[in-house]
């Protein structure tokens, strides 16, 4: 059987997800990140980027620029919504000494993809973010919503899978929406190695 004739079978596995476009897969609760916004985590985010603006380091400079306290970088807002890898009382996430062994559980994954085929490869392809305001020291950030906006099965140089677009919002511990995020992802099973990113 030719590859073309086989193609509809793997695409059909994505049909349940394609039919779910428009659905919010979350229960609308806010899932908060591991750490509050604080000067140390801001500094460590900025370090590899070598961003030197004083509003990110100095409370007086931040207030002089019109902010209530030291400001987190806008692009770090989503970072503050990432859940911890491990919490006290949970079983270990390091189950193997294998050199390349992965965590037993990871907060950055597509494990919660509720429909469609099981995939082993996953990465973000594109992001659009609207910022209502930056977050400042002392706040916590969580993520709310997981609405599927699109699902397009496609074979690429990386493998067979589907491009998806998801929508969510970032919310502070006081319930204020500070950013809206649309994230494109590609979930796939690898077939070969190529430099081109789909």
């Amino acid at each position: 059987m030719s590859e073309d004739l086989k193609a509809p079978d793997w695409k059909a596995e994505w049909q349940p997800l394609a039919e779910a476009v428009g659905r919010d897969f979350s229960d609308r609760t806010v899932v908060f990140g591991a750490d509050a916004v604080e000067p140390g985590t801001i500094r460590r985010y900025l370090e590899p980027l070598e961003i030197g603006c004083p509003i990110h380091y100095d409370a007086e400079a931040a207030r002089a620029a019109g902010y209530p306290d030291i400001v987190a970088p806008y692009t770090a807002t989503m970072v503050y919504s990432v859940a911890p890898m491990w919490r006290p009382g949970e079983p270990t996430v390091y189950e193997s000494a294998g050199r390349d062994a992965q965590l037993a559980r990871s907060p950055i994954n597509n494990d919660d993809m509720p429909l469609g085929p099981k995939t082993t490869g996953f990465f973000a392809t594109d992001i659009s973010m609207e910022f209502l305001r930056p977050v400042t020291v002392g706040e916590r950030v969580g993520r709310r919503g997981q609405r599927l906006l699109s699902c397009t099965p496609k074979q690429t140089s990386m493998g067979r899978g589907a491009f998806m677009t998801w929508e969510s919002e970032l919310v502070t511990d006081r319930g204020e929406v500070v950013a809206r995020v649309r994230t494109g992802t590609y979930a796939y099973n690898p077939v070969q190695s190529e430099e081109e990113q789909p």
């Binding site: 980027l49 961003i51 509003i55 970088p73 692009t75 390349d100 190529e194």
Partner: protein, 151 residues
């Protein structure tokens, strides 16, 4: 020495069509590891060659958070402390930004308009490796004080 990002640009300084000073980010394993520690994206595709290659990539490559932060560096250097970022759109990762390469982030002023006492400026931004666009081109909408005043 006053850092570039601590100088305040006002709306009246903006020239539509002007290029922003570009920023270069040499990507070493060291830097990718520091970035993972800073942004907590510890996915092995960003710091482990063998793992990245097993997923179909030619090498470990910069994460989404790190790449977005590079755009913020370019933009913050331009807008100064009282500038704000309203949105980042079409941040599309077209090619891997691989370890051993240098990412150049560059931008240009596409549009500028006044809204009361603040200026709204649309910047077109892209990341380039060896002359090829790897991220974008997208747009970043920012605000600037009209004449050097606080936000």
């Amino acid at each position: 020495m006053t850092h570039l990002a601590s100088r305040q640009r006002s709306f009246s300084d903006v020239v539509v069509g002007e290029d922003l000073p570009s920023v270069e980010f040499p990507l070493t394993v060291y830097r990718l590891v520091v970035a993972a520690g800073g942004n907590r994206d510890f996915n092995s595709i960003h710091h482990n060659t063998a793992y990245a290659q097993a997923t179909g990539a030619p090498e470990m490559y910069a994460s989404t958070f790190f790449l977005m932060g590079m755009w913020e560096r370019l933009v913050r250097d331009y807008i100064g402390p009282a500038g704000t970022i309203q949105s980042i759109r079409d941040f599309r990762m077209r090619k891997f930004n691989l370890v051993g390469s240098t990412v150049q982030v560059r931008g240009r002023v596409r549009d500028a308009r006044l809204d009361g006492d603040r200026g709204i400026v649309t910047l077109e931004v892209e990341s380039v490796v060896d002359g090829q666009v790897t991220v974008g081109p997208g747009t970043v909408e920012v605000t600037l004080p009209a004449a050097g005043a606080a936000r």
